[in-house]
Symmetry: C2
Subunit: 350 residues, 2 copies
């Protein structure tokens, strides 16, 4: 077992100084052609690679991005990571992942672990618990220490940082409008409680679409689900609630669901009640994931382009990092990028 070779070892072996070795490897003109060749050959032979940690310490930057997300077993988030990793790698950065599991405490702990030198900046989406408690001091402190943050999807305006979001309102509105032009008269929405920012925004889009098309809003068509981590019990409850929705509103002919799970569950319940998709009931969901694509009938969805969000977030962060490098005190003006959604039509609509 041969441990990794260091400059010092090469220096000793070749009977030159460490600095000579370092310079030779970086093709410094200070070093004679002779020694340069000798050193490089030796380094190649022993497969020398500079130690990242030492470089990080010296350069005071790690070339690593910290990602904090609520969960990873989730199509949207893993798509985002894919995007981040793609551009990060392309630009010479690594990616280190922390999971908040929707918990405030874990979010704080994870950020503290990483903020002490391990990374150069954060890309994150806020945990539900944090959104509920509205305690954002850990973000503020991190930023105050000079570590940039880019937030995506679940963001709060009061934090001074770059943000990448989806136009949830517009996306939802388009979806509902699609249902309207497809002939739906009684469109229900299955959404989350309002503290989940995206749930709230998508509900808003629903409302706007109805209003613009002068469709009378019926409160009983709005189903707000308590959006916890989904255990099997919660799933049962979800079905029950949706069933109640259909039973107390026999005229429902369109459903807009703020996520895939709500949509497929709605379809499942609707079928049980004898409704045909898309003939007597049309369904559109937010989030274009594996369920939408492969379940039967496949779902018409609002695609969020998770990967693109990740790519954009990574670019924003790295740009800022490399800007800080040249110009120590950059004027602090932050960008909010909106990624357009697309409506992907499949079998659950006419």
């Amino acid at each position: 077992m041969k441990r990794k070779v260091t400059l010092k070892q090469i220096a000793k072996e070749l009977d030159v100084s460490i600095s000579t070795v370092s310079k030779a490897l970086r093709n410094s003109i200070e070093i004679s052609e002779d020694t340069r060749q000798k050193v490089q050959a030796f380094a190649k032979l022993y497969n020398y690679r500079p130690n990242n940690i030492a470089l990080s310490l010296k350069n005071r930057k790690t070339k690593t991005i910290g990602i904090i997300i609520p969960e990873i077993v989730h199509h949207f988030f893993s798509k985002v990571i894919t995007g981040i990793e793609l551009v990060a790698n392309k630009r010479g950065y690594n990616v280190i992942v922390g999971l908040s599991n929707e918990s405030f405490d874990k979010e704080v702990i994870n950020m503290e672990m990483l903020a002490n030198g391990s990374i150069d900046g954060f890309i994150l989406s806020i945990a539900k618990e944090t959104l509920q408690q509205q305690d954002y001091h850990h973000f503020i402190e991190t930023i105050n220490q000079g570590m940039p943050i880019v937030m995506f999807d679940r963001v709060v305006n009061e934090i001074p940082c770059d943000k990448v979001i989806v136009d949830d309102v517009k996306g939802a509105k388009h979806a509902v409008e699609k249902l309207i032009t497809n002939g739906c008269k009684n469109i229900a929405i299955i959404t989350t409680r309002d503290y989940v920012s995206v749930g709230k925004l998508r509900t808003q889009g629903y409302l706007e679409a109805l209003e613009e098309h002068k469709i009378h809003l019926k409160g009983s068509l709005i189903l707000k689900i308590e959006d916890k981590l989904l255990s099997d019990d919660d799933l049962d409850k979800l079905e029950k609630e949706i069933e109640l929705l259909f039973k107390s509103n026999k005229l429902i002919d369109g459903v807009f669901a703020v996520n895939e799970l709500y949509a497929v569950t709605a379809i499942k319940v609707a079928r049980k009640l004898g409704l045909e998709i898309p003939k007597s009931l049309q369904v559109i969901s937010f989030t274009d994931g594996v369920l939408s694509k492969h379940s039967t009938p496949s779902l018409t969805t609002v695609s969020q382009h998770g990967q693109k969000i990740g790519e954009k977030a990574a670019d924003l962060l790295i740009n800022r990092l490399e800007l800080d490098e040249v110009d120590e005190e950059v004027e602090e003006v932050y960008e909010t990028v909106v990624i357009e959604t697309d409506l992907i039509e499949r079998e659950s609509t006419k």
Copy 2:
């Protein structure tokens, strides 16, 4: 913007030496009660946290685990990561993720990026391309440099390292036996080409089940799919191939698919051909993911317990890391842990 405070700054501010500060913070008895209190108070005030990078350099270990997986937008892999992150965090480690995207080159590059000091050890699942080329030198070299690897799911025996696998043969066999006891007489298998180790093993389980139950093997019932990254075109092709399978074997009454996608696609095609699930066709898939659970009908599946695999892998790796610490030259005996699969019965079987 106040940068992170260091020992040196505290030392200067309090007019003591750096070592005194360090010792005071670590409650060394060398330091008087007085100064200790003073230092600790000051450190608390300025929210001092030791710099991870400096510690890593000094201790020659990073307390970070590198994960290399083929893709992250995948239920199984993200479950595994969840498990790894869980025990890693519990034991004071961070997790840094690299994606090979099933490519040999990206796997090598990612490993090289991380192996130069950034991490203490790897947990990985081999890329398909690597399995095809059978070029494992990067694993060997990493191990030779004293960096332990734990492989999961897609492993090769010739690499000296700990492994966590699922008993693919047994799991597949159980699934097929379930179909047999449920009365299926003509059981097809939809699997991958043989170079994907898990595909091969699951096929083997299928064969064993048939043999033990003295069912004559029909070659035409075995459909081997070229398992690339799935574009929409490939999806079409998949449907066509499955359709052909059904059409040329009208008697098929059971299908065992080696992954969820093959299973739901089979169901889709079967329905189109007028088959009822599970009445005239029963289906079981490997991998218990979101599709199995939420598509209609929900799928009976072989659960791999991805999270448990991740947890076990992380424990194995960290155990080895912390063993190396005390006992420099550990006898090199490696463990292969088999995680039992479970058959989860849902609506796609009787």
